[in-house]
Amino acid sequence: MRVALVGLLLGLGASQAAAQSRVAVLSEPGTPVVATEILLAVGPADEEDDLAGLAFLAARTVVAPILPVLDSLGAHLTVTPQKDALSFSIVSAPDAWQESTELLAEVLFNDPPSTSAMEREREAIVRELEGRTANPADAATRAMDRAFFGSSHPWGRPTIGTPESVRRINFADLGEFLRNNFTPERAFAATSGPVEPASATAHLQPLLGTRSAAPVELIPFRPAERPVRIEYNSITTWVGASFRFPETADEDVMRFIAFLAARELAPSPAQRSVYNVESEVVTRVGGGEIRLQVVVPPEEAEDWEERMTDVIADLLATPLPEDVYAGLLRRFRGERLMELASPEERAHAAARQLLIQGEVGELAPSIDGLTAQVVREAAASLGPPTVVVLGPTLEN
C-alpha cells in the first residue's frame, strides 16, 4: 500500500513538521470510491462534567445542514464518537470527493452552527439515549468505562452523555465549545481511494491549515483493582474484563492476544452456557486496552468472573502445538484483513495511526514476527484486568 505522509509545515522548523504529520493518503487505484476520515481530537475530556455529550452533539449539529447536499452528491457521511476523538467518515465517488470534503471542513471549522439544527439533533440524541437506557450491552459498556477509567475521569463518563446532560446543553454552550475545540490544528485526515498522493495531499492540506498539530494528551487514570459488581435487571449476566497495555505495545500482538482469548471464551461443547463473546482492541495516546466480554447465565457469574480474570494467564499456561498455533495465526490474519476490506475502514485505521503515532505504518497485520514466544512475553506483560459483572443477583 503506497502511503504518502505529509508533515505540515509549522513555520517554526522542518524538524517539528516531521514530528507530527496530520495528513495521510493511501493511493489505491483499484478502489472505486474515495474514503476520507477527518479525525478531530475532541471528546469528553473537553466537556464540562455536567455537559457530557456536548462534543457529539456539536458534531451532529455542524454536519446536519450539509447532509442533503452530500446526499445529492452521492456522498455518505458517518459521525462516530470516540473517547479521544470525533470521527467524520465520508465516502464519495472520485468526481465528488473533493467537493464533499471541502463542505465537511467548511462546516467543521468555519460555518456558524444553526440553532434549529442543534435543537433537532439534541432531541434526536436524547431519544436515542432514552431508547438505549434499558439495553444491557450499553449498560455493560458504561459500567466498564466507569471502572476502567474511574468515575471522575472524563472517559469514565458515557461518551455521548446521558439524556439529562444532553438536555442541559444550550446554544451558548455549543457555540463556545465549537470555537474552543473545533479547530483545524486538532484535526487529522486520511484518504484512501483512486487518488494521486500529491494532488490529494494538496487538496487536504489547506482544509486542515498549516499550524502544527495540537498536542493530544492523556489525563492519567487508575483502573479499578477489584471486581466491580453491578445489580441489573436482566435475565443474563455480562462479565467484562479490560487489560491495559502501554503505548509501546505492538498493536498486532495485542490483537492476536485478544483473538486467542476470545476463542478461549467462545461457546464450545465444554462451555455451552456462553451466549455471546466479544473482544475489542482499542489503541489510544498513552496506551490502549484489550476488552473482553461474555454473556452468561447469572448462576455462573462468579465462575466467569474468575475465568475472565485469569483468561490471559490461562493462555500462557497451556502452550499450543505448533500446527494449531500456525492455523490460528493464519485465521487471525484473514479476519484482520477482512476488517479492513472497505476503504472507509482503511482510512479510519490510518487516521487513528496519525493521531496516536504521528505516522502511518502498514495497515495489514504483520504476522511474520508473531512467534509464540513474542506473544507469550507480550501477554505476560499485561497487568491484572479490570473486571465488571453486570446482571441480576441470585437473590433476585
Partner: protein, 404 residues
C-alpha cells in the same frame, strides 16, 4: 437478482474521471470457463466469485439452490479457517459461490470453490435438512407482502423464471440419487465464470482454477416440466396496502430502463411522502422488467392505484435533460459506493457477466449511463405506455370486529 435490481434503483454531469468500475480489468479463460479479473492490489484480499450459468432441470426447480444449501456449512467452515467468508447466492441466471479472504490464500479459496462443482453425495438426512431450509425460503417468499408482491409480478412476466427456492412438488423429487443427476444436467465447465477481485494476477487465478472437475454424463431425468400453482395461496401478512405494477422491458436499452425506474420512483415518492416506494429494474437472462411497488396506508389505496397507473404518462410529460443526467449520475455513484469492497465488486461485475456473457458488461453499462440522453428515457416511457402492466394488490389486513 433482486440485490442488483435494488442497487440499480435505490437511488450526475458527465464526469471526466476514468471509469473506476472495472479499471484494470483483465479477461482470460481456463479450459472453457471464463475468468475476469479486477485488480485491487491495495486490500491484501481476494474475492473469488464462481458462477455456473444454469437453470434448474425441468421438474427439479430449486435443485441448484438445494445443492448450495447442502454444501454451504462445509464450505463456510473451510473459508473461516483462513479468516475468510463464503457466500451462496442463487440468481435467475446462475448458481453462485463467492469466497473472500487473504490474497495469499488464493489457491486454498479456489480449491474450496472447485470442490463445489463436484457432484454432491448427500445423505438422506442432509437432503431433508436442506429441503427444510428451502421450504422456509419458499414460505417467506409468500408470507411477507414485499416478497409476495414481487413473486406474483415476476410469475406473470417471466413464467419460466421459477423461484430459486423451487416448488413444493419439485421438492418431493429431491433425493440422494436424483440430486447428482440434476447437477449433471446443470454443470459443464463452459458454463463456469470466475470473477476475481483483489490483490492477485490473472495468471495466478487461471492456474488456481486449471483443474475444474469433469462433468458427469447427463442421465435422462424423467420429468420434463415444472408445474407452479398461482393464486390459491393465503394472502400475505400486510398492515398497509401493497400495490405492484410491472412492465416487460426486454427490448429496451438497459441504462435507460434503470434511469426511468429511478425517475418513476422519485415521482411516486414526491406524490406519496408517507409511502414506501420501490422502483426496480429487473434484468436477467429471462428478460428485463420495470417494477413499481408501493406500500401505503389503506386510506390511500385508491389514490395509489391511480398514481401507479398514470405515473408513466405523468413522467413522460415532465421529464427533462437535467433530471435524466442527475438520475444517471446518482446511479453511477451508487454503483461505485456499493462496489467498494472486493466482495461487492465481484458481485456487481459477476452479475453483469452472468447475464450478458460479456466480461465488460458492467463497464459498458456504466458508460451507457454517462452517455444517456433524455430521448432514450422518453422512448422507454412511450413503449411502456403501449403495454399492459402486470398488477398485484394486497389490501391491509384488518381485525374482524366482534359482533355485539
Amino acid at each position: 437478482m433482486f440485490l442488483l435490481a435494488a442497487l440499480l434503483t435505490i437511488s450526475a454531469v458527465a464526469d471526466t474521471v476514468p471509469s473506476p468500475m472495472v479499471r484494470g480489468g483483465e479477461v482470460g479463460a481456463v479450459r472453457d470457463a471464463a475468468v475476469v479479473l479486477h485488480r485491487q492490489p491495495e486490500t491484501g484480499l481476494v474475492s473469488l466469485r464462481l458462477s455456473v450459468l444454469a437453470n434448474d432441470p425441468p421438474g427439479y426447480a430449486g435443485a441448484g439452490h438445494l445443492i448450495q444449501h447442502l454444501l454451504y456449512p462445509g464450505l463456510r467452515d473451510r473459508a473461516e479457517r483462513v479468516g475468510g467468508r463464503l457466500q451462496i447466492q442463487r440468481t435467475s441466471d446462475a448458481i453462485v459461490y463467492t469466497a473472500t479472504g487473504p490474497a495469499a490464500e488464493l489457491s486454498y479459496l479456489a480449491e474450496l470453490l472447485r470442490s463445489a462443482l463436484r457432484p454432491p453425495i448427500p445423505t438422506d438426512d442432509a437432503v431433508l435438512r436442506a429441503e427444510r431450509e428451502l421450504r422456509e425460503e419458499r414460505l417467506a417468499e409468500w408470507e411477507t407482502a414485499p416478497s409476495h408482491t414481487r413473486s406474483m409480478l415476476r410469475a406473470q412476466l417471466f413464467p419460466n423464471d421459477v423461484s430459486a427456492a423451487g416448488t413444493d412438488r419439485a421438492a418431493t423429487r429431491y433425493s440422494p440419487s436424483s440430486l447428482p443427476r440434476a447437477w449433471a444436467a446443470m454443470y459443464r465447465p463452459d458454463r463456469v465464470c470466475v470473477v476475481a477481485v483483489g490483490d492477485v494476477y490473472l495468471a495466478d487465478v487461471q492456474r488456481a482454477f486449471a483443474d475444474l472437475p469433469e462433468p458427469d454424463p447427463v442421465d435422462e431425468l424423467e420429468i420434463r416440466r415444472d408445474s407452479i400453482v398461482l393464486g390459491a395461496l393465503a394472502p400475505p401478512q400486510a398492515t398497509r396496502a401493497w400495490l405492484g405494477a410491472a412492465y416487460l422491458a426486454t427490448d429496451l436499452e438497459p441504462a435507460a430502463v434503470t434511469v426511468t425506474a429511478r425517475l418513476l420512483g422519485d415521482l411516486l415518492r414526491r406524490r406519496f411522502p408517507n409511502a414506501q416506494v420501490d422502483a426496480e429494474h429487473w434484468w436477467t437472462h429471462h428478460g428485463q422488467a420495470l417494477a413499481l411497488i408501493m406500500a401505503l396506508p389503506g386510506s390511500e389505496m385508491d389514490a395509489g392505484r391511480r398514481a401507479l397507473g398514470t405515473s408513466v404518462a405523468t413522467l413522460l410529460d415532465d421529464v427533462d435533460e437535467a433530471a435524466v443526467a442527475a438520475a444517471a449520475q446518482a446511479i453511477r455513484r451508487e454503483m461505485l459506493f456499493y462496489a467498494r469492497t472486493p466482495e461487492r465488486m465481484a458481485e456487481v461485475i459477476g452479475q453483469f457477466v452472468d447475464r450478458e456473457g460479456d466480461p465488460n458488461a458492467a463497464e459498458r453499462f456504466y458508460a451507457a449511463l454517462a452517455a444517456l440522453e433524455v430521448d432514450q428515457v422518453e422512448e422507454v416511457l412511450e413503449r411502456l405506455l403501449e403495454r399492459t402492466p402486470a398488477r398485484v394488490e394486497t389490501p391491509p389486513q384488518e381485525l374482524q370486529q366482534r359482533r355485539r
